[in-house]
């Protein structure tokens, strides 16, 4: 055996074959292939035994310090469980076990409220969860904190986390979120704004605007003329935060923008400012179209004369001239005028009437739906609770007979304008009067956990549905919401519903068992939420 032959020579001769390229000199009586293998074995073992470390690449910049409190032990295990259950296949019969994936959002929200730091080892699973579900992102990334962003930079799967806008959702902590400068650090803000990537700049503008709206607007104004159209649109959109009359001159100037989308966004923002000049112009236009009916004795009706043209001035104020297919252009223009005019216009225009009285007035020539729909959009845009209340009407009135709109999506938007208490009280009364079949979207805008009257109304309605003999999956949407939104304290009161009832007359076969199962799941989910909540309670309080 010999070790004098170099490894490269051995490889070459092995590749080509010793018949063509003998290399290792064979001992007497030894075949060339065997000599090659002997030499190669010696080389291999020697190389492996003599392995030395590689030169180290530059060490990474350490993750920024995260001053938040570590998670309590039990909560850490719960998080692991929720993240492991996240990917569980949905669909099929749900049985009595809680749906863990649906509890992750509120767990994250609660953990963030307490200001806990995410355990480092859970960050990859957390980022994966946020990647799969966009609705989780703000809370998940806030919880993941600076180390989460540090980690996301190293894996292209998680680059969504770097697109910005999420870090600022995080409460507390001076150096939270992305590596953004403090909003009041003028020089650093200025530098990032001038040199940063779009995502960083968008996040920066958002965070500055959130703390000092005027500074945010001023920052945007410095480079406004040189931004690209799509960037202008995104930046303009961030002015929604902290929108005030002080923004009017800037927005008024943006009405002359080269880009149509920028113009219409500027117009929309201006119309949300009832004292703006644009709102006044819209009020004038709308008033010329809608007014009291003078033909009768006491003007107790509204007449509508839709606009006959969409002139250049209207277009400059954001009115879009071309209707979507299937709509008449005059009613299309009218709708845009109504939604952009300040609602206070109508009290003045219609004899000092309140919103309720105006909404109750008859409208001539079949314009009622168009007019009310416009008012609904205006009430949402201007966050006008009095008008929203009037347009929703009393909750006991059947939706088809009431004022405003029948669209559940529009109604839930109107509800979101009302104060939280009033909102849940309205929905509770609605459910008590009309049952659950149309309640799903309305429940979605109610504050969590549900107020006691709302919770009672939902549970009572479910109980009634069970007694009526229908299957629980007709109510699976509401049931799922109840699992997530009912006050966990209600679990004991609900226990009685989990028993298997006698099958009522005319019930769907087996429905009782499924209801019992659904209520068991509801109770066990509420218990789990109570446990989650107590696990997250700061040490010393949870006993």
């Amino acid at each position: 055996m010999t070790a004098t032959t170099s490894w490269e020579e051995l490889v070459t001769s092995a590749l080509l074959g010793t018949d063509r390229r003998p290399s290792a000199p064979a001992a007497p009586g030894q075949d060339a292939p065997v000599a090659l293998l002997d030499a190669a074995a010696l080389h291999t073992v020697r190389r492996r035994a003599g392995l030395r470390p590689a030169p180290a690449a530059a060490l990474p910049e350490p993750a920024p310090h995260d001053p938040r409190t570590p998670l309590p032990e039990a909560a850490r295990h719960r998080l692991t469980q929720l993240l492991a259950g996240r990917a569980a296949p949905s669909g099929g019969r749900r049985g009595v076990a809680p749906d863990l994936a649906e509890l992750l959002p509120q767990w994250l929200a609660a953990a963030n409220d307490h200001g806990y730091r995410a355990p480092a080892s859970a960050l990859p699973a957390l980022l994966d969860a946020a990647r799969a579900r966009t609705d989780l992102r703000p809370q998940a990334l806030a919880f993941a904190g600076p180390r989460g962003l540090w980690l996301a930079r190293l894996n292209s799967d998680w680059k969504f986390a770097l697109r910005g806008g999420f870090g600022s959702a995080q409460p507390g902590g001076p150096d939270h979120g992305a590596a953004l400068p403090a909003p009041d650090d003028g020089e650093a803000v200025r530098r990032l704004w001038d040199e940063g990537l779009f995502a960083e700049r968008a996040a920066l503008l958002g965070s500055v605007r959130a703390t000092d709206p005027a500074a945010g607007r001023a920052l945007l104004a410095t480079t406004w003329a040189t931004e690209r159209a799509e960037d202008r649109l995104m930046f303009l959109d961030s002015l929604r935060t902290g929108l005030s009359d002080a923004d009017e001159p800037f927005l008024e100037q943006a009405l002359a923008d080269r880009s149509r989308n920028v113009r219409s966004t500027a117009a929309e923002l201006l119309s949300a400012l009832p004292h703006s000049a644009l709102a006044a112009r819209m009020a004038r236009r709308a008033s010329s179209c809608v007014g009291p009916d003078r033909s009768g004795d006491d003007a107790a009706a509204i007449v509508v004369e839709a606009p006959h043209e969409c002139d250049a001035a209207m277009q400059r104020d954001g009115v879009i001239p071309n209707p979507p297919s299937g709509r008449g252009e005059r009613s299309w223009w009218l709708g845009q005028l109504i939604e952009s005019a300040p609602l206070a216009t109508w009290t003045a225009r219609l004899g000092g009437r309140t919103a309720e009285e105006i909404v109750a007035l008859p409208v001539g020539d079949g314009w009622r739906d168009e007019l009310h729909a416009g008012w609904c959009r205006a009430a949402v845009r201007q966050r006008d609770a009095a008008w929203a209340r009037a347009l929703l009407g009393p909750p006991t009135t059947p939706p088809a007979a009431g004022p405003g709109t029948q669209s559940l999506a529009e109604r839930s938007k109107l509800l979101s304008v009302l104060p939280a208490d009033e909102r849940s009280f309205w929905v509770a009364s609605f459910i008590a009067a009309h049952g659950l079949s149309e309640a799903f979207q309305l429940l979605g805008v109610c504050a969590v956990p549900w107020s006691e009257p709302l919770g009672r109304a939902v549970v009572d309605a479910l109980d009634i549905a069970r007694d009526a003999g229908s299957y629980p999956w007709s109510f699976s949407g509401v049931m799922g919401l109840a699992e997530r939104c009912l006050d966990p304290g209600e679990a004991d009161r609900l226990e009685v519903l989990t028993t298997l009832p006698d099958e009522p007359e005319g019930a769907s076969p087996g429905a009782g068992g499924y209801w019992s199962e659904a209520f068991q799941r509801l109770v066990s989910t509420l218990r789990l939420r109570a446990a989650m909540r107590s696990e997250l309670a700061p040490a010393g309080l949870d006993g």
Partner: protein, 460 residues
């Protein structure tokens, strides 16, 4: 009897959810188990101080499933029809138990329900009976009715292996003569056929090597070098077997093990506080191999427990990473062999309090180099690295000494694995302690510890 020993020990600390989930035989069971890990479907759940947990789980039928787990085994019993092992009910029950006293209360010895007590009692009797038996049954002769016949069988098998080794030598020589380039053209079929011949020769160790040789030409750039290395080491093993009677005994035992003969379990058993550093499975569809790395706190010894499971079943033995057990292990024979069998356990698992001692990356490579002197066929050696930082480098990752300078590349396999990212997250750019396998392909991280938490982070 054995139980009284256990009972005198401290109360077992409940496992963590991570440790429970590590027992799952597959991803589907993991998910299904997670869904059952909440109070909803469970009733009459309880646990005893000596590591037994039980509960009734409501399933789709009218009768709930009876699920019982003995965590000291661990051993599982469930009245469900699942062939998964452990089944989702057992996993769910353990998750519930991991949740703490509120979820599954501890009960006194006498309050164990009958349906659980019967099985647990049976297990205890069996295990104490086995213990009494063991000292009596002496060596391999126990059970073998006719030692002479056994010797003849062993000789016949050795003869067949020798014939197989000679045939393999011939194949390797032919390969060298014709060149590796032609082997690439010949494709995998040639190797499959040779591997089948080695199976016929009752040399599973050789068969496994040959199959790996067959996979190398398709393994990407640089394959000729790797193929030559592995051919040479296979040749070395062939030669060693053919001259095995002239080798010193520890090396001979190693050669026999490498060829595929099961080494006898001998040597004195070692009692220690064994830390479970890692548990991971690998498999080829037909057989799942579970590797469990142990480190003895007092002896400073590292040991490997192997457990096998047929397709669809998780191997029986399961020890979650991050616990320590007071137990005896018995090593297998052979130089540089770390394999051992788990013997009697004197305590329920408790969480480990600190990582095992370790060293810088250079010391890790040194210990691999030393281990090669006893077993030149070793691909890797278990080591603990202290104060290392995961660093991205050249499209891959390395573990570098925090003081800078030296680094070990990570093996390619974990790159796709979530474990790498858990390691990077845990480090956050700072120093961590990492246990793993260090070898000529690089370092495979298996568990990590950070100074910030006491948690053992499994990377498998």
């Amino acid at each position: 009897m054995a139980r009284s020993v256990v009972a005198m020990n401290q109360q077992g600390v409940r496992w963590t959810a991570e440790q429970v989930l590590a027992l799952a035989p597959d991803v589907a069971s993991r998910r299904a188990g997670s869904k059952l890990g909440t109070a909803g479907p469970w009733s009459e759940a309880g646990s005893s101080g000596d590591g037994a947990v039980w509960g009734l789980c409501k399933g789709s039928g009218s009768k709930p499933y009876q699920t019982i787990v003995d965590t000291t085994g661990p051993a599982y019993k469930c009245s469900c029809p699942s062939r998964k092992f452990p089944c989702k009910h057992a996993l769910g029950l353990l998750l519930l138990w991991a949740g703490g006293e509120d979820a599954v209360a501890s009960v006194q010895e006498g309050d164990v329900p009958d349906w659980a007590g019967t099985w647990l009692e049976g297990r205890r009797e069996r295990s104490s009976a086995k213990k009494k038996e063991t000292p009596a049954g002496d060596g391999p002769a126990a059970g073998a009715a006719d030692p002479e016949a056994a010797r003849r069988r062993a000789e016949r098998r050795a003869g067949r292996i020798t014939a197989g080794a000679q045939e393999l030598e011939q194949r390797l020589a032919d390969l060298m003569r014709g060149g590796l380039a032609s082997a690439e053209r010949a494709g995998y079929g040639l190797w499959e056929e040779t591997a089948a011949r080695m199976v016929d020769a009752q040399a599973p160790g050789l068969a496994g090597r040959v199959r790996e040789l067959g996979a190398i030409p398709g393994s990407g750039p640089g394959w000729p070098v790797r193929l030559l290395e592995e051919c040479a080491l296979t040749h070395l093993l062939d030669r060693a077997w053919l001259g095995v009677e002239r080798l010193p005994e520890p090396l001979a035992a190693t050669v026999r093990t490498r060829v595929g003969l099961t080494a006898p379990v001998d040597g004195p058993s070692v009692r220690d506080r064994w830390m479970v550093l890692a548990q991971y499975d690998s498999g080829d569809g037909r057989l799942t191999t579970r590797r469990i790395w142990l480190y003895g706190r007092t002896s400073g010894r590292t040991a490997l427990l192997l457990s096998f499971g047929a397709a669809g079943r998780a191997p029986q033995l399961a020890l979650p990473a991050g616990v320590a057990i007071d137990a005896e292990i018995t090593p297998h024979a052979g130089a540089g062999q770390l394999r051992a069998e788990l013997g009697e356990q004197f305590s329920v698992p408790v969480p480990i309090d600190s990582p095992p001692p370790g060293g810088p990356v250079a010391a890790a490579l040194d210990s691999y180099g030393h281990a090669l002197r006893d077993d030149p066929w070793l691909d890797s050696w278990p080591v603990t690295l202290t104060d290392v930082v995961p660093v991205p480098a050249d499209g891959g990752w390395q573990l570098a000494d925090a003081s800078g300078g030296s680094a070990l590349p990570l093996t390619a396999s974990p790159h796709s694995r979530p474990g790498l990212w858990r390691l990077v997250a845990l480090s956050g750019g700072g120093p961590v302690t990492v246990f793993g396998e260090c070898g000529h392909r690089g370092f495979t991280p298996l568990a990590a510890w950070s100074a910030e938490t006491a948690e053992t982070v499994a990377l498998t």
